[in-house]
Subunit: 216 residues, 2 copies
Amino acid sequence: MKGKDAKGEKARTHLSREDVLDAAARLVKRDGPRSLTMRGLAAELDTAVTSIYWHVGNRESLLDALVERTLADLGEIRPVGRTPARRVVSVARTLRRRLLDRPHLVAMVHERGLTERMFLPAQRSLVHEVHEAGLRGARAADAVRAVQVLVVGHVLVERNRERAPAQRPGEDELWTATTAERDAALARALAAPLDPEALFTTSVTALVTGLLGPGN
Amino acid sequence: MKGKDAKGEKARTHLSREDVLDAAARLVKRDGPRSLTMRGLAAELDTAVTSIYWHVGNRESLLDALVERTLADLGEIRPVGRTPARRVVSVARTLRRRLLDRPHLVAMVHERGLTERMFLPAQRSLVHEVHEAGLRGARAADAVRAVQVLVVGHVLVERNRERAPAQRPGEDELWTATTAERDAALARALAAPLDPEALFTTSVTALVTGLLGPGN
DNA sequence: ACCTGAACACCGTTCAAGT
DNA sequence: ACCTGAACACCGTTCAAGT
């Protein structure tokens, strides 16, 4: 089996740092960082555990390197739409999509307190659009940041909702017309499973309306 | 040392399940769940590791029990304010305060996908208020959930910002008047450290305005 | 019913030794 | 410069044995 790993990839003369990062990224994307063990990674690479240490130092540095890669991967975002408000919403939606593509890695970026840096590409676009909408100074900065936190908040919540066990007691048992202000449609809506994409659109649209709206 | 633990608490004849949970909750609140080890907990309780297993099964069940406790601890929330919008904002702020009080435990609730359940006490109040504001059916349910996700999103982001290392490159180096739409005040605001409480208030107010506002 | 120590299968990491 | 196996100090967990 020497020279060929479990995935049947090309033979390798030397193990490189890139090889280690590639394999680690693949495993993390599939099963999350928690189940990435140095021994398991070594097996995947068909090498000795200690070789990995030569290339990446230790487990924490390895994960840090993956986070750096993720940050580098998140490129610019081009706003689309006819009004600044629509363009802000479009940036938020694009960003959400990209983050949901790599939920584990986003969580790792978040854990390392680098959420702000992750948003830099989007931030430039958002700054431009809120300025375009007439916001200035601290008010513009607040608007940009409010959108950022909304996006990352939704992504974090959504990611964990996916793998949530059945809720006990289920929301369907909790809300009946009598407990929900005698509003049968409301009770039904509260009992129904949540549609994350729709909720996100509702939230970000309402937020942007509030931030850019005439009241401000 | 038998019969008196490291904190000098009262002697114990029998170790109880409650004793285990109390000690575990204290340690988790201080250092987070990651640094809670069964052996460390046993030392804290001045008992054998294996005794703990008799009372709580295993580490995962122990953490589950702490999460259950946290959920039970989050009580009702009384809305205050003269308009429905203000009362919704007040519920959100109170909720945020309570969650920030136990950040590690909230994160654990979240990891277990029980965020929805955590919100139940607040949900009743929110449902009442948005109904009061004239929202009905699915639209009311969306509004309630949008506020929920905003709150938990902010708490999660805020918690991790606290222990964030210095950002590289710092936002102060990134934003100058020329890059920030030639708006010196905006550049300064973007470079300044974020005030989480202020940003939260701005966000939730804008969101509620957008959700309850005349446009809808 | 409750507690114990020994033992097992894992972990990340270090290090001296190889080529 | 790169790789190796042995060894160390940790984990969570099981289990037979004690009282």
